[in-house]
């Protein structure tokens, strides 16, 4: 019982801290969200799920095809996660269909495609590329 109480207080404290942190993060995230909506203001990444990508030769084939997409600057394949992460230049105008076609050329079928903005540090290194 005592133990429960001891752990109960920090939980309330943690909730308050989390709430404050979430509020602060939301305010910080504002400009990024806007940047993501405006082409040219942020580097974009597509996280492509490709099932059955356990064979490195196949994964590298997918990487090769994705690198050929217009504006693609970097492609990383994560065999363990069955994912390919494609980074694009700011002005790249690539559609899900183009990504699906590239994966199809490599002999696979693309699953979910999630678009996201790169973290700032990564974007910086890509700018140098």
């Amino acid at each position: 019982m005592r133990m429960h109480r001891r752990f109960g207080r920090p939980r309330v404290g943690a909730f308050v801290v989390s709430l404050l942190a979430a509020t602060a993060l939301t305010s910080l995230a504002g400009p990024s969200r806007i940047a993501a909506q405006e082409p040219g203001a942020g580097v974009r990444q597509a996280v492509v799920t490709v099932k059955g990508m356990q064979c490195p030769f196949c994964a590298y084939g997918i990487q090769k095809q994705l690198k050929r997409l217009p504006g693609a600057t970097k492609v990383e394949v994560e065999l363990a996660k069955s994912q390919a992460i494609v980074s694009f230049t700011r002005d790249a105008d690539v559609t899900d269909e183009q990504i699906q076609e590239a994966v199809r050329k490599a002999g696979f079928t693309a699953g979910d495609i999630e678009w996201r903005s790169s973290p700032k540090s990564t974007a910086g290194s890509q700018d140098r590329d």
Binding site: C55, P56, F57, Y60, Q63, K64
Partner: protein, 338 residues
């Protein structure tokens, strides 16, 4: 009503009989998996060492994939750091070369590596669709190949092999063939053709080797088989359950390979197959009979491995890349008594 029902039953019975009748020849059609025999008790693999390349100038091996043994006994490995690493037979790092780019000595994705009888090192680039040659220390010598599907052109060149006369064999992954080149890099003949059935049909081949008798062994990864060709490119025989893609069944040692990505043979003729989908190396006699196998004990289940392998000239050691674990596996071979 009753007549209709009996017709359906009769038709169903006929259909089942026809399916069974078709299944038997389909099962045997073109399959040459005549093994396994009883496992030879005296034959085995013993893991001697693993190399992580920690003393390489550019840091430890990262996703190693290609591997070759030179006549001197030195071992060459390609990895994801866009380099060729060189080790002595004890595993001591002797050096490395390569960097990102498209010029001489530069790579986008070096995959296959092979060493000729004169010590020349051949490296395939999966993305640049070319093969570069180097001396033993990494000095650039020449290159051949370009993107495409015509003679002498590649779409993702992977495994390499060089025969005693200096001919170069290159697995052309997305063109579903192996190409044979003369020692000067000019195209000589295509080995195999795209396909799923029949002798000589290849589907995403990844590895190639030359036997002491001069036959060409092709790891036909996604037809789940190993095929033998003569030096003119004519198919001779094959083993493996190559109908896996239409007639799936378990691929344990008794049934066949699952994505065999490389094969090699020592001077004694014993054949070793990197059965990557099963995370094992399979030993075969020179005639292709199953002898024994060795499973990678702590393989990463999310990555097929071993990818490529190389056999020392005396046939006593097999070196294999384990991409998922970032290491080279060094196995002593206890070959079967003749």
């Amino acid at each position: 009503m009753g007549q209709g029902r009996s017709r359906i039953i009769r038709a169903s019975v006929v259909l089942v009989v026809l399916m069974l009748a078709a299944a038997v020849p389909l099962e045997r059609w073109g399959t040459r998996w005549t093994v396994p025999q009883a496992i030879a008790p005296a034959a085995s693999y013993v893991l001697q060492a693993t190399w992580d390349g920690a003393t390489l100038p550019g840091g430890p091996l990262e996703r190693p994939i290609g591997i070759a043994v030179a006549p001197s006994g030195d071992v060459y490995v390609t990895d994801a750091l866009l380099r060729v690493a060189r080790f002595d037979p004890s595993g001591a790092a002797l050096g490395q070369w390569g960097r990102e780019g498209a010029g001489p000595g530069e790579f986008s994705n070096p995959i296959g590596v092979a060493v000729g009888p004169d010590g020349v090192v051949y490296v395939s680039d999966y993305e640049q669709d070319r093969v570069q040659t180097f001396d033993a220390t990494g000095e650039f010598l020449a290159e051949f190949g370009r993107p495409g599907s015509g003679p002498g052109e590649f779409n993702a060149p992977a495994g390499l092999a060089v025969d005693e006369a200096g001919h170069i064999y290159v697995t052309d992954f997305y063109n579903h063939r192996v190409q044979k080149f003369r020692p000067d890099g000019s195209f000589e003949v295509a080995v195999g053709h795209p396909g799923r059935l029949g002798p000589g049909a290849l589907h995403y081949p990844t590895g190639v080797a030359v036997t002491p008798g001069g036959e060409v062994l092709v790891a036909d990864a996604y037809n789940y088989q190993v095929q033998w060709f003569d030096r003119d490119g004519q198919p001779r025989r094959r083993i493996g359950y190559h109908l896996l893609w239409i007639w799936p069944r378990p691929v344990a040692s008794a049934a066949g390979f699952f994505a065999p990505t490389d094969a090699g043979a020592g001077r004694d003729g014993v054949i070793h197959v990197a059965d990557s989908g099963n995370h094992r190396i399979v030993m075969l006699s020179a005639d292709g009979e199953y002898v024994t196998e060795w499973r990678v004990p702590d393989a990463d289940p999310s990555v097929f491995s071993p990818e490529h392998l190389a056999v020392s000239a005396d046939g006593a050691t097999v070196y294999a890349t384990d991409l998922g674990k970032g290491r080279v596996l060094v196995l002593r071979v206890n070959a079967p008594a003749r």
